[in-house]
């Protein structure tokens, strides 16, 4: 018997497979407990689904693989908060609004440091960031 684990995953899919019920398959065929954190589905442009999966580790792996086979894009979420380094301009506007001091500027190169350990996913920085480099994924 494998360990029961919990994993957050973002599935993105093109319009062709919007109709395929990903979460249903994961529940029925892989015996996973599925919590839908966010769902945005548009028949014309495809969709995005953020799921929290719980269950047997192997089953989770297989379930994710089957979604991938069906044509879905898969991103495993390490954190609830996504920081797009490429988009970030290191302006620092987010820093002083963070209640847990998870954000700071590197003293040497003045680029943003994001300490995910300290982050409580309150969403303030995502709202404040002028270039939308931070998004909350749930």
């Amino acid at each position: 018997m494998n360990a029961m684990i919990k994993r957050k995953v973002i599935f993105t899919f093109p319009p062709e497979i919007v109709e395929k019920p990903i979460s249903h398959t994961l529940m029925r065929d892989y015996d996973l407990w599925v919590n839908i954190l966010r769902a945005k589905i548009e028949p014309s442009s495809g969709g995005k689904l953020v799921l929290e999966l719980r269950g047997d580790e192997d089953m989770i792996e297989q379930g994710i693989e089957s979604a991938r086979q069906a044509g879905a894009g898969v991103t495993l979420l390490e954190h609830d908060v996504l920081w797009d380094k490429e988009l970030c301009v290191d302006c620092g506007a987010c820093i002083s609004t963070c209640p847990t001091q998870a954000l700071s500027l590197d003293r040497d190169n003045f680029k943003l440091i994001f300490d995910f350990e300290k982050c409580v996913a309150c969403g303030t920085c995502a709202e404040v960031c002028p270039v939308k480099a931070i998004t909350i994924e749930f």
Binding site: V89, D90, C91, G92, A93, C94, I95, S96, T97, Q101, S104, L105, N109, F110, K111, T124, E127, V128, P130, V131, K132
Partner: protein, 385 residues
């Protein structure tokens, strides 16, 4: 005997050295260490050019565009780019698109986003309507354009590159949303917006090399200073025993087709609206020792005032005077309270701009241009009554 204003070199001599790849160029940060190590006198004899940089939200920015004519032609009177209205009061297919104009359909999208999309090579939907005239019979057009498909795209920003700017704080009990970012209640944070010791107009505070025609780095392209900026009000005030200089502004112009999204970015300030990060670098020629001494200024010697942005009138109260050294350290102390700070301009980008400009000059790709006239040392200060 040489004085600090004895001429060391001319623009022509500097450009000769740049053309030969021999110019000695340092950034406005590097010059600080150089002066510490060997003194201003020696450094001034070595260094030809000091480069500066800033990357800040600058609302008073925009682009002139000429679309070319449709067939049959139209005299565009109302114009939208990706549903953002642009100015229809110029000739048939000319327009000016301001960075802060908001989309009529999409939230958090405005003129600056259209400009960034164009620079990134993306298609933008142009829609225009007209009453129709004998020579321009068409009444409507909708088509996709790109930066390559249109005739001209010229950035022209009436006010950029503030010499100095207030730091902002909020003394009320609720969060306020401003162009200085989100300000937390009870002086919960302070925001500030210049690159201090790297900032162009702090490094030539009397504008000896800054004026109409000066060649500058503008969002990755080579642009020029067009005029002094609107609300150009150079000032030197003494407060709390500290000297605060500031108030000078620039109007700048450059070819959007040569710009890069690395140095130009649309910005959204929630509850306030859209602005645009504009990257500007100005090379300062070291004509004499006095000019070099000015470029060696440090964040600890540059001051600004902390202003209460929650006060709803024009004359907002100043709560204190702080140095950029303090602001950049991450916290300032005000009324005995330690407050965390947020820069709104990117020091990392400012540094990247100063370094990029340095490299371009070293590699003979960027020559200096002597201005036709230098910025006025005084400004006007009128108000709406």
């Amino acid at each position: 005997m040489d004085t600090i204003t004895s001429k060391l070199r001319t623009y022509e001599e500097i450009n000769d050295r740049i053309a030969k790849g021999e110019a000695v160029v340092v950034t406005a940060e590097e010059v600080i260490n150089l002066v510490e190590d060997e003194g201003a006198r020696r450094a001034a004899r070595e260094v030809d050019v000091v480069t500066t940089g800033t990357f800040s939200p600058m609302c008073s920015s925009g682009v002139f565009l000429n679309f070319g004519h449709a067939d049959p032609p139209i005299r565009m009177q109302k114009i939208w780019l990706n549903d953002v209205p642009a100015h229809g009061g110029l000739a048939a297919v000319d327009t000016y698109l301001g960075a802060t104009n908001l989309s009529e359909t999409a939230p958090d999208y405005g003129g600056a986003h259209v400009i960034e999309d164009l620079v990134r090579g993306r298609e933008v939907t142009l829609k225009a309507v007209s009453g129709g005239t004998d020579c321009y019979p068409r009444k409507e057009v909708t088509t996709d354009i790109t930066l390559l498909s249109i005739n001209e795209a010229v950035m022209f920003n009436p006010r950029n590159c503030y010499q100095n700017y207030n730091a902002a704080v909020n003394t009320t009990k609720k969060t306020i949303r401003t162009y200085m970012g989100t300000l937390l209640p009870d002086m919960g944070n302070v925001s500030f917006a210049t690159s201090g010791q790297l900032s162009p107009l702090f490094n030539d505070p009397t504008f000896r090399s800054i004026g109409m025609g000066t060649r500058i780095f503008l969002c990755g392209a080579q642009g020029h200073i067009a005029w002094h900026g609107t609300q150009h009000r150079p000032s030197v005030v003494e407060r709390d025993g500290k000297t605060i200089i500031g108030g000078a502004t620039l109007s700048v112009v450059g070819d959007l087709k040569k710009m890069s999204a690395d140095f130009l970015r649309a910005a959204v300030f929630p509850g306030y609206g859209v602005s645009m990060f504009v990257g500007i670098g100005i090379p300062i020629p070291i004509l004499d020792e006095e000019m070099l001494r000015a470029t060696a200024v440090t964040d600890d010697e540059l001051y600004t005032q902390i202003i209460d942005y929650s006060y709803p009138h024009r004359q907002r109260p100043a709560l204190g005077t702080v140095s950029y050294g303090e602001l950049r350290s991450g916290t300032v102390t005000l009324d005995g309270k330690e407050i965390r700070t947020s820069p709104l301009s990117s020091y990392a980008k400012a540094r990247e701009i100063a370094q990029t400009l340095k490299k371009e000059i070293e590699e003979s790709q960027f020559l200096l241009q002597r201005p036709a006239w230098t910025l006025p040392r005084e400004g006007v200060n009128n108000h709406l009554e």
